[in-house]
Subunit: 249 residues, 2 copies
Amino acid sequence: MTRVIKIGGAVVDDEVMLSTVLDRCAMMDRSFVLVHGGGKIATKLARDLGVEQTMIDGRRVTDADTLRIVTMVYGGLINKNIVAKLQARSVQCIGLTGADANLIRSHQRTHQTIDYGFVGDVDTVNIDALTALLGAGFSIVLAPLTHDGNGQLLNTNADTIASKVAIALAVPLLYVFEHHGVLRSVEDPTSVIPVVHVNDIPMLIADGTIVAGMVPKITNAAEAARAGINVLIQHVSALGTEEGTLIKC
Amino acid sequence: MTRVIKIGGAVVDDEVMLSTVLDRCAMMDRSFVLVHGGGKIATKLARDLGVEQTMIDGRRVTDADTLRIVTMVYGGLINKNIVAKLQARSVQCIGLTGADANLIRSHQRTHQTIDYGFVGDVDTVNIDALTALLGAGFSIVLAPLTHDGNGQLLNTNADTIASKVAIALAVPLLYVFEHHGVLRSVEDPTSVIPVVHVNDIPMLIADGTIVAGMVPKITNAAEAARAGINVLIQHVSALGTEEGTLIKC
């Protein structure tokens, strides 16, 4: 069965974890969609170029210079290197953004007080194009960029893209990262909560169990679970197994 | 009929010329392959990052830092912006490199005296994958990067890529740029040579009619013409017409 797999920035930055994910992907019986984050490489390039970065609630404010940087890093450097590494594992894949094949349309975020710049909120996922490409045997490596249909690329949260694509395709969604799932205590890797019910998520956020980068992940996971999608949050080394935290509706 | 269109760096750098090309592409009756060069944007980024650039006979020596830069600029920034602009013209296209869909395999160039670094010379073009994507109605925007099949991306001349792809698909090849064709005198835009026979090319290079960036273009054009491909070298504004210089075998 086709799966949507989201790998976070820490996995992209770590050669060993990335290799593990790509090895596991290469063993899958069907074409897949691998959504990657960006993270530190874009931040480093921005620093090297003297482009100041502003983060609000873990979201990058994307001015014109920053959009150029993330288009280069997400759409080019990270995406194409993952494609080359998958091809070396005999995975027939193509590296795309939401602009390619008109896969994901979005609109520039409007906010009463904050100008997020060129950040896109997803409107539509092109199911026909996804199905055509996956059906033709191509796995898709998807960078967290979308477009507005008027020629403008937009920086878009990778967790959200993964959730929207899984919902559109009605296939399982795997958030794969450096932890073994949702942990009761972040210091204790054995404290994995095996099942989180979507109704319990507000409480887990309120009591500080779910924090920081986990919040957007769990929020998008919950949206997918509510749409009937099988969602698993798991460690890189668990990809392909049922280990991790199952998000239940 | 499907066509392979190569646009040079000067077209990529010029908003008006690029718009003209994309407008003409949008009027084509069949899916196409648009191969783009890179040029000044990569050079500027290298300068901003303090990465020294060495050119030998118009070819960029590609060390590891330079490969990162061209992967970002060619594979990301230029490629994805062209895709977004074509999508805004309702062209169903995807932006790829030679690594995507295993489209173009190459090997790292070996040379007795010069170390070109991560520069690839083309070995094979994946006709099946190209045909599947074009046949499914996707036009392809192709960045001048290839891969060696072992996970290594390689910087590859865009004129060569265009020629190899046209030969593989057995379709017409158009080199579209800022001049009206091969000119008898570069100062006189009306001095277009309407037909150049491949056998006359060595003489035209020897007598200085064909110089600088035109040499790799005409060499690749000749290779395609010898393989039975219809090759036209023409101005941006002539795309879609028969105007320009026809390369005959």
